[in-house]
């Protein structure tokens, strides 16, 4: 059981990161901490992909001195996916941060629950 | 093709003309509304007559899902109900012309009144269960504005009660229908039932549950215990012609639906002797007795009549539950008899309210001197409802009793006629006091102040026609009985 974990320690760390991020995003009240959680979560995923994409002893898929056997290279797609994912997560983070700024300007707090109570009071 | 179009016209014309009346703001003037409604009612009547006089016909409109078509088909059973419904509808409609003056908002009233006829025509013409269910819901929704017409809080609450009871019943029936669909070849109405016995084998308990759900569900509309409470609440608040329609006709929609379910879907043989039949018989007998008792205790005139409807409708349901041709003939006769009589009673009550504003039975002292024609008609139809020959009620109750005795079902064979008899006595007990108080107010009554205040011709004539009809049905029942027994024999 633990042998598997130790052999794939990269993946294990990735899953741990994902879980930490997930918990923060779900449970934190502070918006900034939530956004941090979001980034943890995404980073965990990218680490997982990068770990999966790397095979010990193979080269980067860039042809330098003549084409060798297919088995000499790693698959470039996971790295490509990581890049795409980073772009997506950057844009999402930017959106979240801009929302946070707006909310802070209006209510001078970063706590979601407090904002909700203020809103309820406004309605009455 | 032409034949089939007549069915469609009979349904669509009332609905469309009603919708036009509701939407055209220009028809705001009372006179214009009445003229429009009168013409529309005339044309609708002619169209329905045209549909009734033709042969049996069928028209496939479209498919709802791949195996559920929407079919219109007018067989003899449908014709019988449709004829009664439209007759009562027209007479109550004529009565509403003057009556609605004191309720106001004629445009809305007549708009929905016309739409209600379309829904009833559709119900009579429905050729399969889903079509019938659609029109059943449509009828509930179309008649709902009639109940809440004066829009007082009380009326709205009563209307909601009516709506929820009816919808609840219809949904119960709908869930029965889902089960039924699996075990039939078709959901069209075929005399003798459409159950596929091979599929049904081994699933009898599920099917009986479905039958029970459907029967009880549709009987909500017919006011069967334990879901009868909407009737006495909804009737007093509705305008009198609307309660006449509700009590005379709309409750019959439930009866028609139950007949369709039992004789045209499950088949009488499948239900005979099972717990479903016993449950159905017991519930209907309880309702017969309970309705009469409650009517006996009630002082409000319209509410008393409403309880009377609860009781009388269960006569009809009991006749159906017995599952034999004689009792079914009695039931169908009673459908006609009760429709005519109860409509007349409500119209009489309406005329009294319109002229004097009296709503309780105790207030009716000496009314016979003021409105002799109305109270005479009330008396004649009361005798009919009690079942004294030669009125219509006698014949139908005779058939019901004979049917019960012939059925040979242990217990109910004798219990049925006894309950019917006791209930007839109670009926006398709650209807005749009106006549007695009306004509014999007692020695301390001051005759000096009474003046004649008979209602106008447009209100009296429908009442007189209905009273005459109730007697005519009793005196010359043979044509009807022949017509009915010709097709009830094929059902079992």
């Amino acid at each position: 059981m633990f042998d598997g974990l130790i052999a794939n320690y990269g993946e294990a760390v990735a899953v741990l990161l994902f879980a930490i991020g997930f918990g923060n995003l779900l449970l934190q009240k502070n918006l900034i901490k939530k956004i941090l959680g979001l980034n943890f979560m995404d980073t965990g995923t990218y680490l997982f992909l990068a770990e999966k994409g790397y095979i010990e002893g193979r080269m980067a898929p860039i042809v330098v001195n003549g084409v060798q056997d297919v088995n000499a290279y790693i698959n470039p797609i996971p790295s490509g996916l990581v890049l795409t994912g980073i772009v997506v997560s950057v844009s999402v983070t930017a959106l979240m941060l801009s929302l946070t700024i707006r909310l802070y300007q209006r209510y001078h707090t970063l706590d979601m629950d407090e904002i909700s109570t203020i809103l309820k009071k406004e309605e009455l | 093709m032409n034949e089939s179009v007549s069915l469609l016209a009979a349904i669509l014309f009332p609905v469309l003309s009603g919708a036009v009346l509701l939407l055209l703001k220009k028809l705001n003037d009372r006179r214009k509304v009445l003229i429009y409604a009168g013409i529309a009612m005339g044309i609708a009547g002619v169209l329905i007559l045209n549909a009734l006089l033709g042969k049996e016909k069928e028209i496939l409109l479209f498919f709802l899902t791949e195996d559920i078509p929407i079919v219109l088909k007018l067989d003899n059973m449908g014709k019988w109900f449709l004829a009664i419904m439209s007759l009562i509808w027209i007479l109550a409609g004529i009565f509403s012309f003057p009556y609605m003056k004191h309720e106001g908002k004629e445009r809305r009233y007549f708009g929905f009144y016309l739409i209600t006829l379309g829904a009833m025509a559709g119900l009579g013409c429905a050729g399969n269960l889903v079509t019938m269910y659609a029109f059943f819901e449509f009828l509930t929704l179309a008649s709902f504005p009639l109940v809440i017409h004066n829009q007082s809080r009380e009326a709205v609450m009563a209307g909601l009660k009516y709506l929820f009871y009816s919808l609840f019943g219809a949904y119960m029936a709908l869930f029965g229908l889902f089960f039924l669909c699996r075990y039939t070849d078709t959901i069209s109405f075929i005399p003798g039932g459409t159950l596929n016995m091979e599929l049904a084998k081994g699933n009898e308990s599920v099917l009986l549950l479905a039958a029970c759900l459907m029967i009880v569900g549709f009987s909500v509309k017919a006011g069967m215990f334990p879901l009868h409470a909407w009737l006495p609440t909804a009737h007093p608040v509705a305008p009198a012609p609307a309660s006449a329609l509700l009590s005379g006709v709309i409750v019959k929609a439930g009866v028609l639906a139950v007949i369709r379910v039992i004789f045209y879907e499950f088949g009488a043989d499948f239900i005979r002797g099972t717990w479903v039949q016993y449950v159905f018989m017991t519930l209907s007998l309880i309702t017969v007795f309970m309705g009469s008792m409650l009517a006996f205790r009630e002082n409000g005139l319209k509410k008393r009549l409403a309880y009377s409807t609860v009781s009388q409708l269960s006569y009809i349901l009991f006749g159906i539950a017995l599952l034999n041709p004689v009792a079914l003939t009695g039931s169908l006769l009673h459908v006609a008899g009760h429709a005519v009589i109860k409509c007349a009673l409500f119209l009489c009550a309406g005329a009294v309210i319109f002229q004097t504003g009296i709503t309780t039975v105790d207030g009716l002292k000496g009314i016979g001197k003021k409105m002799p024609v109305t109270i005479w008609c009330f008396t004649i139809v009361s005798l009919g409802l009690i079942g004294i020959p030669p009125t219509g009620g006698f014949i139908s109750k005779w058939y019901l009793a004979v049917g019960a005795l012939e059925s040979g079902i242990k217990g109910f064979q004798y219990a049925g006629p006894i309950v019917l008899l006791v209930s007839a006595l109670l009926t006398a007990g709650y209807l005749l006091p009106v006549t007695i108080k009306g004509f014999f107010p007692g020695t301390d009554f001051d005759y000096g102040e009474t003046k004649k205040c008979e209602a106008g011709a447009a209100m009296t004539i429908p009442i007189v026609i209905l009273a005459a009809l109730s007697v005519l049905i009793g005196m010359f029942p043979n044509t009807f009985i022949e017509f009915i027994s010709a097709f009830t024999a094929g059902l079992m």
Binding site: F22, L81, L99 | A134, F175, R182
Partner: protein, 497 residues
């Protein structure tokens, strides 16, 4: 004829280009361009639908030059094109129906941005419908989320900002799970194209390899998409974001955005994992239970609600519960019923939102029930439209809601008793609850009131009125002629395999 197969790709590119182009336009031209583009997408999709129906096969369209296991693909059959056509119709009607409010509620400088977002949303929905590549699906899920968030927050008020934040947080949780599930699936199969993954998954199951990672991947993907489509316990963001955003946004969000994710989920069931493997796993039971809970609790919350828009929003929670219940039946009939419910709910719910706004407009902009008294007389067409929508939601025959109930119930009676009884009981209970709150509302808007409000003139409200009429026609058509649509759905699902 062969040329028609390019059309789905065209419609994708068209919407994306339009959203870029309209960012440089002023509001008026952006609006016109948006309408032209949506109509064009509708026409293109109907042409593609015609192609797939007549030839009765599905087409794979290579994006880029590389063939199958490496390149990216879009793939379309009957169901995909039907869905695209339907989405474009609803989109058009929703945008037009809320146009008056857009003028009132938006900053004039921002009006073109609204249409940028609408075009972007449309393109991401089309991509979700057509794509054959899971990672592309993920990217467009995120684009969908971002543009939907924009649609909520573009009307800048405290409520919409808060709602948008809540929406974003829930969506990000969902897409995080989805992405992680995808990565695991990619790790064990080595493919991103749906058809290839399915082959590999079948192989893995047959040889009994990687059992746990496969289950974990399925769970992550399904739960992620369920969270994003507001399945019952994850619906907390929904009432606020539907209740306070501008009318068009609410209609679009409720009827299209969540449906896009559900459609992707169906594709995952059939095209990625394989329906047999999904039905054997326990995940559908979880969806079933949550779906049933959603049906009941959504309706209960709607009954308690005192705000018409939020009430309709809670009703959406219940309706999404219906869809997941259909998945939980684990039969093809259940899926067909769910897909039909996507159509019927989209048609009715967008109609309800548009007409509810028509009603609140004539009641001093108040959404409270008490102020809505008699609104049906003041704005006749909106009143009628709302009534039709309510009847459809309640499940009165001849409206689409009834057909979906029939389909659900008939799918329900053909499964074993332990799932049949909960299905039928919850259907019955939720139908009655629906009746309670929708009839209450209809009655409220038709109760006459003495106080003077301004009656709305037909001419002032022409656009909204015409849209309402089209909505009514669409609903009645769906309710009365559902047979060909159900047939197309079942053909489309057969093509998925």
């Amino acid at each position: 004829m062969e040329f028609l197969r390019n059309f789905p790709c065209f419609s994708l590119i068209l919407t994306m280009c339009a959203s870029i182009v309209s960012s440089g336009m002023n509001g008026k031209w952006a609006r016109r361009l948006n309408i032209v583009v949506i109509v064009a997408v509708g026409l293109l999709s109907s042409a593609a639908l015609y192609l797939t129906v007549t030839t009765n096969q599905c087409y794979v369209y290579k994006m880029g030059r590389f063939p199958a296991p490496w390149g990216n693909e879009i793939r379309f059959g009957v169901l995909e094109t039907l869905m695209a056509l339907f989405f474009s119709i609803i989109m058009l009607l929703s945008v037009l129906g809320g146009r008056k409010h857009l003028f009132e509620e938006l900053d004039p400088f921002k009006e073109n941005l609204y249409y940028v977002l609408v075009n972007l949303l449309m393109s991401s929905l089309l991509a979700l419908i057509y794509t054959n590549d899971l990672f592309t699906a993920y990217v467009f899920v995120e684009i969908n989320t971002i543009s939907a968030c924009g649609l909520i927050m573009i009307r800048e008020s405290g409520h919409t900002l808060e709602a948008a934040t809540r929406y974003m947080i829930m969506s990000l949780i969902g897409s995080g799970l989805l992405l992680f599930g995808l990565c695991i699936l990619y790790g064990i199969t080595g493919h991103l194209l749906m058809s290839n993954i399915k082959e590999q998954v079948a192989l893995l199951v047959a040889t009994d390899q990687y059992h746990i990672p496969l289950v974990v991947a399925i769970v992550f993907i399904v739960v992620g998409l369920a969270v994003k489509s507001a399945l019952f316990p994850f619906h907390s963001w929904l009432p606020d974001s539907y209740g306070y955003s501008t009318a068009s946004s609410a209609a679009i969000l409720s009827s299209l955005v969540s449906k896009g994710y559900i459609f992707l989920l169906i594709k995952v069931f059939y095209r990625v994992i394989g329906f047999e493997i999904i039905t054997e796993s326990k995940i559908l039971n979880v969806l079933f239970v949550f779906g049933l809970c959603g049906m009941i609790f959504g309706s209960l919350s709607a009954i308690k609600e005192n705000d018409i828009r939020r009430m309709i929003a809670f009703s959406s929670v219940a309706q999404i519960g219906y869809i997941y219940m259909g998945f939980g039946l684990r039969t093809e009939a259940g899926i067909i019923a769910s897909v039909f419910h996507i159509f019927s709910h989209a048609a009715s719910k967008s109609m309800l939102f548009i007409s509810a706004v028509g009603l609140t407009d004539v009641s001093g902009k108040s959404k409270k029930f008490l102020d809505l008294t008699g609104a049906g007389y003041r704005n006749v067409i909106a009143g009628i439209t709302f009534t039709v929508g309510a009847l459809s939601m309640v499940g009165v025959p001849l409206f689409p809601g009834f057909i979906s109930k029939i389909l659900f119930a008939r799918a329900g009676v053909s499964v074993p008793l332990n799932r049949m009884l909960p299905t039928l009981i919850c259907l019955a209970v939720s139908t009655i609850l629906n009746t309670v709150y929708f009839m209450k509302t209809v009655l409220r808007i038709y109760t006459p009131v003495k106080t003077d409000y301004i009656n709305i003139k037909w001419k002032e409200n022409l656009c909204c009125g015409i849209v309402c009429i089209f909505f009514i026609i669409l609903n009645i058509a769906l309710g009365m002629y559902s047979e060909p649509i159900v047939e197309l759905i079942s053909r489309g699902i057969a093509m998925f395999a």
